[in-house]
């Protein structure tokens, strides 16, 4: 129910500039994901939106109103922390009800109804009387999300909510969050993650941050297909995009040639040659690491049934229309 606008937003801790001037508009109901390397300022940016951190300069605008000086509780936001941040001395019910009990004008009945509704959405109703320490990690995370839902926020903020969960639970909770977003299509969600699979699967739009600045904003496919820089190209997609340099790429008229592993095929008449260093078989498909004389091995995705041996010499060809050309400054040549 709220659009968020950041205007030339800056944040410094003492003399140390963390956020260096960010302009961004997040539409209402949008699922925006912040990704970027560790220390680039994702959490700080999220905390600026939440109001937990003071803005050094620039404007934070919710629904056209400047909220720089508005307290977190008055911004209509809810936040899910990486560490869950459940109140350890309160039952699950009290954890979820805490925010409502602090607001005036909610009857006990009203609070109970809202807590139970949120609990049902997340299937945590059986645990309402338990203490957080009596729950598993996944249940705790659902309680944390439930606590946020109970407040009926206009904006949902997540700071790496899945990073303390194991792989299977991470996938399950990710799907749950996606479903939640579909159910609550009026609620704006801002989500911080390291994990580019989370970013690709959840986001309406992804904002790639680097060193306190926005590198690119766009839909997952835009970022995947048209990265605005070498940095984004290397960051989005898994495995990482391969970068080729040197004489091999001169013919293409660029400094660096980018090609994803899934956009290359192994064929006897391939234009590049490489020695197999290692092969990883994931069942459905396999990643072959080739030494092509580049700084890093080149990864090629092949079918899971293919058999490749270390030391074998293979020839590969890229899909011409999937090549990404970058100039010496790392900008794409279109």
């Amino acid at each position: 129910m709220a659009s968020i606008e950041l205007k030339n937003l800056r944040k410094s801790f003492g003399a140390f500039d963390v956020i260096k001037g960010i302009d961004l508009r997040i539409e209402k109901g949008e699922f925006m994901v912040f990704v970027g390397p560790s220390g680039c300022g994702k959490s700080t940016l999220l905390r600026l939106i939440s109001g937990l951190e003071d803005i050094t300069s620039g404007d934070m605008i919710f629904d056209g109103k400047r909220v720089n000086a508005v307290a977190p509780a008055k911004r209509g936001i809810a936040m899910v922390f990486q560490s869950y941040a459940l109140y350890p001395h309160m039952s699950v019910y009290d954890n979820m009800a805490f925010g409502l009990t602090l607001e005036r004008g909610h009857s006990k009945e009203d609070i109970r109804r809202r807590v139970e509704k949120a609990a049902d959405m997340l299937q945590i109703r059986p645990y309402l009387d338990r203490l957080p320490k009596q729950l598993s990690g996944g249940q705790r995370q659902r309680v944390a999300i439930g606590r946020a839902i109970t407040r009926d926020p206009k904006v949902f903020l997540f700071d790496e909510p899945l990073s303390n969960l194991d792989a299977a639970l991470r996938v399950a909770t990710r799907i749950e969050i996606a479903r939640l977003h579909a159910d609550m299509d009026q609620v704006t969600m801002v989500y911080v993650t390291h994990d580019q699979v989370e970013a690709m699967t959840l986001a309406d739009r992804i904002c790639v941050l680097r060193d306190g600045l926005i590198e690119q904003v766009g839909t997952p496919l835009e970022l995947y297909e048209h990265p605005a820089s070498l940095f984004v190209a290397g960051f989005i997609g898994s495995p990482k995009m391969n970068f080729l340099t040197g004489p091999k790429v001169e013919a293409y008229g660029c400094a660096t040639l980018g090609i994803r592993g899934e956009h290359m095929t192994i064929r006897p008449d391939g234009i590049w040659e490489g020695t197999v260093i290692h092969a990883e078989n994931l069942g459905s498909d396999a990643y072959v690491y080739l030494d092509m004389g580049e700084a890093e091995p080149v990864v090629v995705r092949v079918d899971g049934t293919a058999t490749v041996k270390s030391g074998e010499v293979l020839r590969v060809s890229p899909l011409q229309e999937r090549l990404h050309r970058f100039d010496a400054a790392g900008r794409p040549i279109r």
Partner: protein
């Protein structure tokens, strides 16, 4: 599926016994030291409480008198006064004040404004100064500060015109307990502050932030999040300081020797006086046993009440 009968264990080989004995052997030295320095004297003290023994009889066996010593101690009206002094003026007042002041100071020292302040570390270190001062030195210094004629406190009060003549704080019944309590609290407060501060710093900042987002103001965060989380540490501090203070001897003894008259006599000083001034070792030991029993009962009830939930 068939269930096989479990075979009876074969005779245990010697090395298994060695393994079983190992933990006992490891704690043996500590146990011996405890037995020698703690259990020994404690048992001797209990035995002494049932004997009549003056200092001149030391080395000889005392005369066994059954519960006579206890009867005497418990019917002596001054014991009742000592008990009230010990419980109320020495212990309850100072424990409560230490908890309140300690909590307040710890919350202050832990506040964000304070941690951002450049000299914050200095203040935190200064807080420790009383704690590293030996109690004997602390009392001597305070007696000097409170001296009727030369003491800084009186000179200051006279200087600003609050009083005309210096007050002999330790010689007046109206001020003597306040003076003793001041010395004790000054010396013992840092323990409380540092312990609470450590507990405060172990509370993750995300909890406060989550509460802020939930709409709690600073006061609500302290009362509804922080205080409940401090409960365990406050419970332990209360137990420890109560026992230490109830049994404490140095502050009253060094400050007033139980005076003026025996106005500030506490159980610990009464025990000492009975034993080593009146030379009635048996009766003195009986006071000691009574003190132990009271603290034992206190600890039991306390554990029962505080830790019942678990």
């Amino acid at each position: 599926m068939s269930v096989l009968p479990t075979s009876a264990p074969a005779e245990e080989p010697a090395h298994v016994w060695g393994k079983k004995l190992e933990p006992y052997l490891l704690v043996l030295p500590a146990m011996l030291i405890l037995a020698f320095f703690f259990a020994g004297p404690a048992i001797y003290n209990i035995a002494l409480a049932f004997q009549e023994l003056s200092l001149f009889d030391l080395g000889r066996e005392g005369r066994w008198v059954g519960f006579d010593n206890f009867a005497e101690v418990l019917t002596d009206p001054s014991t009742g006064q000592s008990l009230i002094n010990t419980t109320v003026w020495l212990t309850v007042v100072t424990v409560v004040l230490r908890l309140v002041l300690g909590l307040g100071l710890a919350l202050l020292l832990n506040a964000t404004v304070f941690s951002r302040w450049k000299l914050g570390w200095l203040v935190r270190s200064l807080i420790l100064v009383p704690w590293v001062t030996p109690p004997v030195v602390a009392v001597a210094a305070w007696k000097w500060l409170l001296d009727a004629r030369y003491g800084v406190v009186n000179q200051f009060l006279v200087g600003i015109g609050a009083i005309e003549q210096g007050i002999p704080f330790l010689a007046r019944t109206s001020t003597v307990w306040g003076a003793i309590e001041t010395m004790l609290i000054w010396r013992e407060l840092p323990f409380v502050v540092i312990t609470i501060l450590a507990a405060l710093q172990s509370i993750p900042s995300e909890l406060r932030e989550a509460a802020r987002i939930d709409g709690a103001n600073e006061f609500q965060i302290q009362t509804r999040i922080v205080l409940p989380l401090l409960k365990p540490v406050l419970a332990v501090i209360t137990l420890l300081t109560t026992i230490w203070t109830f049994n404490n001897f140095v502050y009253v003894w060094l400050a007033t020797r139980g005076g003026p008259g025996d106005y500030t006599q506490v159980l610990a000083t009464q025990m000492y006086t009975t034993s080593f001034v009146d030379y009635r070792m048996g009766a003195g030991a009986a006071v000691g046993v009574v003190m132990s029993l009271i603290m034992f009962a206190f600890a039991l009830i306390y554990f029962f009440v505080i830790f019942r939930e678990k």
